[in-house]
């Protein structure tokens, strides 16, 4: 290592990358470069992640003992609302799309930038403005409705800062719509020569499917939030049952967005994991076309299952039956993906690198989260488990075990490309294992708690639940350490890490053909694609080679 090679802005002599094109604050805040906007997003969502995490820490501390001895019931309500609102809208929804997606999508399809670079920058500013509103609501005293804002409590009875928070969510919705529009247009119009639809890396397909959901579901949330504002501000009785409103209507509108939003969080994770598994086992993705169609089917059916959140809300039993059936149906494409990931590993040369550990962790945790989802999709079981810790554990397995693991996996996998530096593999591997252990330690006991009947959203509980809660809280401490570890060794690598070669993982994909970090316009010469994605080996080396060769010729 050369002596001038340390420090955040230290560059190799003569190096020109997107990081060296202007180093003033202004050159970052007004940049329309998708790579810089991705970094801006990454910094902001990291901040929100730790704010949301701090709330979760206090929640778990409170639940260590059965009595409400740390915070009052009212504070507890505000804490879990804060945790939910921040983590869903300010961390999970933008996490992979706005950071890794923004950075990688144009690189992967061989484009100079996204289709609408200024809209891309605007989406970050909208995110920041929305974040300010939400933080203002938090600093003034918080919101106590839960992240779901159920009416009529949120519109008539809550004395907290619902209006500010709802407006913040309304605005952040437009930030994600802007990202969605940009990604769809980019994939349609800016693919480089030879990059046909069926040659797109699965990460791009995942971004595409996610964007479809963002564009079509988010406006309904915006509309629902606007109606909450209208009722609170103008007093229009839209959800107030005493004056002819319908509180259940809000739940329909809210879940029409918020169920597809689960797929906004999980589809990008599926894309990331497909990339890592193929590269780190040196295999073509098994059943590429099925992977593509599975993602699109998930995105479409995701719109038709919202009623499974309302089995005990008083909807027609016939509607419940249909929603239950469709919720089972959506498990089929999800299972196809899990089987194909396992199929990809078959006869592969597996490297247990840090990204791979995260990706393998994802497959396991996603499977467990998905299967417990089927428990909840079944009406009689759901009646027993509704609003218990079983539900909490289920969606944390999907959102934290699934999405966050994949986000961390992707962050490590593309870290050398994004920053031009290598992180410490030993630290990264131990953090991956530590997180997997800590996660299960925290959330598995909650399945049992929920099954035994402990309801969610209470700060006190009967003493017989204490043993499981102590387990979960201890696990949360382990998990917290696991989340802090990457913060340190990744930051360290920025200053002191070894310089990364252009393609440290010997991966396929256009993003690895350009330098690390990439130049401002991504490629010096527009790339041309001649093979399908994941050409890690010849077709005839694959199991069942004969069938696959035919697929090859057709493509």
């Amino acid at each position: 290592m050369r002596s001038d090679d340390t420090g955040l802005f230290a560059r190799a002599p003569g190096e020109r990358s997107y990081l060296t094109e202007g180093t003033t604050l202004r050159s970052w805040l007004l940049s329309t470069d998708h790579k810089r906007i991705a970094i801006l997003y990454a910094a902001s969502i990291t901040m929100f992640f730790f704010i949301g995490g701090a709330a979760a820490t206090v929640i778990r501390l409170e639940l260590f003992t059965p009595k409400g001895d740390l915070v009052t019931a009212d504070t507890y309500n505000r804490l879990f609302t804060l945790h939910g609102v921040i983590m869903v809208w300010f961390f999970l929804v933008p996490s992979i799309p706005a950071t890794l997606g923004n950075f990688l999508l144009p690189l992967m399809i061989g484009a100079k930038d996204v289709a609408f670079p200024r809209l891309n920058l605007m989406s970050w500013y909208l995110y920041v403005i929305a974040g300010c509103f939400t933080l203002a609501a938090l600093l003034l005293g918080g919101v106590d409705t839960g992240w779901t804002f159920y009416t009529p409590f949120s519109t008539l009875y809550s004395n907290s800062y619902v209006l500010l928070a709802a407006f913040g969510i309304f605005v952040v919705g437009f930030s994600s719509i802007a990202t969605g529009i940009n990604f769809i247009a980019t994939v349609h119009l800016l693919r480089t020569k030879g990059m046909t639809w069926m040659r797109l890396p699965l990460f791009c397909w995942a971004m595409y499917a996610t964007s479809l959901v963002m564009v079509l579901a988010t406006p309904v949330l915006a509309m629902a939030m606007l109606l909450i504002c209208a009722e609170r501000l103008l007093g229009l009785p839209i959800f107030d049952p005493r004056a002819g409103g319908d509180p259940l209507l809000f739940q329909h509108l809210f879940w029409f967005y918020s169920h597809p939003a689960v797929y906004i969080m999980i589809l990008p994770a599926m894309g990331v994991v497909s990339e890592i598994l193929a590269c780190e086992s040196r295999r073509r993705v098994f059943g590429y076309q099925f992977m593509v169609y599975a993602m699109l089917v998930i995105a479409v059916i995701g719109f038709l299952v919202w009623g499974h959140h309302m089995f005990v809300s008083g909807q027609s039993p016939f509607a419940s039956m249909i929603f239950s059936f469709l919720s089972f149906v959506i498990a089929v494409p999800s299972a196809i993906k899990v089987f194909n990931w396992t199929g990809t590993l078959y006869r592969g040369t597996i490297r247990f690198s840090a990204p791979m550990l995260y990706a393998l962790g994802f497959v396991g945790l996603f499977t467990l989260g998905g299967l417990t989802g089927l428990f909840l999709a079944s009406i009689p079981v759901d009646v027993h488990l509704s609003d218990t810790y079983f539900v909490v554990a289920h969606f944390h397995y999907i959102m934290v075990g699934g999405s966050v693991s994949a986000f961390f996996g992707g962050l490590h996998f593309w870290w050398p490309k994004i920053t031009g530096r290598l992180y410490s593999e030993t630290f990264a591997r131990s953090a991956a294992l530590w997180l997997f252990f800590g996660f299960n330690f925290t959330f598995f006991p909650q399945f049992i708690l929920g099954y035994l009947g402990m309801p969610r959203r209470y700060h006190e509980y009967p003493p017989e639940f204490q043993v499981w809660n102590v387990m979960s809280s201890t696990g949360a401490a382990v998990l917290a350490v696991g989340y802090l570890m990457p913060l340190f060794y990744l930051t360290y690598s920025l200053f002191h890490g070894e310089r990364a070669p252009d393609n440290p993982h010997q991966a396929t994909g256009l993003e690895w053909t350009t330098s690390s970090p990439p130049p401002k316009h991504n490629f010096l010469v527009p790339p041309v694609v001649e093979t399908e994605a994941y050409a890690y080996h010849d077709w005839d080396e694959a199991p069942g080679a004969a069938d696959e060769t035919m697929q090859d010729e057709r493509a």
Binding site: T32, P106, A111, K112, D113, V114, A115, F116, P117, L119, I177, G180, I181, N182, I184, A185, H188, L189, L190, V215, L216, A217, T218, P219, V220, A222, M223, A224, L226, L227, A230, L234, G235, L236, P237, I238, A243, G244, G245, D246, L249, L253, F256
Partner: protein, 211 residues
């Protein structure tokens, strides 16, 4: 269409056809978002109307049909004038384009003025559901007026944003870059038409429902 003016290229596009395609496609994606947004309101309308049809009709009878119809005519004409402006820009008839844009601005502003006058009338008849003197007790009528106020306000906000975009065209014309940026006009026109079409749906839903 073959003689469109030479377009100003913006990053990351290298040929005007692609940029044009992207702009129109992007705007349609945004309109898809808007359709879902307004779709939620129409869902609200359907629920309200089906649950108490007679109360809903009684409430709707009080809506000011005359002003609503005048406004419909104003907006439809504005769509026509903006289309004329858009075509004129592509044919490089600057003067016709300017007249079309100014006419659109005038018609759009007139719509908002009429709407404001109508709001004033409504309020003087106590047609806001939270007013103590609100003349109805039927659930359907309350819902009609809740819907009326929410949707027309949301529509007015959309129209105001549209007016800002049309005003921008006038400014582009003033600095002389409207010709090379005819794609902006096309995008603005698409958005403006969308806002008009929403009103075209609202006119029968609000003003003819009670008759």
């Amino acid at each position: 269409m073959s003689s469109r003016p030479v377009a100003t290229l913006v990053e990351p596009f290298e040929e005007p056809e692609r940029q044009h395609e992207a702009m129109v496609f992007g705007l349609w994606l945004f309109l898809a978002t808007e359709i879902l947004f307004f779709g939620g309101f129409f869902f609200l309308y359907a629920v309200a109307r089906l649950q108490d049809p007679s109360g809903f009709a009684a409430g709707g009878h009080k809506a000011n049909l005359l002003l609503g119809t005048v406004n419909t005519l104003l907006l439809m004409s504005s769509s026509a004038t903006l289309t004329v402006a858009e075509r004129a820009i592509q044919a490089e008839w600057r003067r016709a384009a300017r007249v079309g844009i100014v006419a659109t601005l005038a018609l759009g502003t007139a719509f908002l003025l009429v709407k404001g006058f109508e709001y004033h009338e409504d309020l003087s008849e106590h047609l806001f559901p939270t007013m103590p003197a609100f003349p109805f007790t039927a659930v359907g009528a309350i819902r009609f007026w809740s819907f009326y106020w929410t949707i027309t306000l949301v529509h007015a906000v959309h129209l105001t944003i549209g007016l800002a975009f049309v005003a921008r065209l006038l400014w582009l014309d003033r600095v002389g870059t409207l010709g090379p940026r005819w794609m902006v006009t096309e995008a603005t026109t698409l958005y403006w038409h969308f806002v008009d079409v929403v009103w075209l749906l609202l006119w029968p839903l609000l003003y003819l429902a009670g008759r």
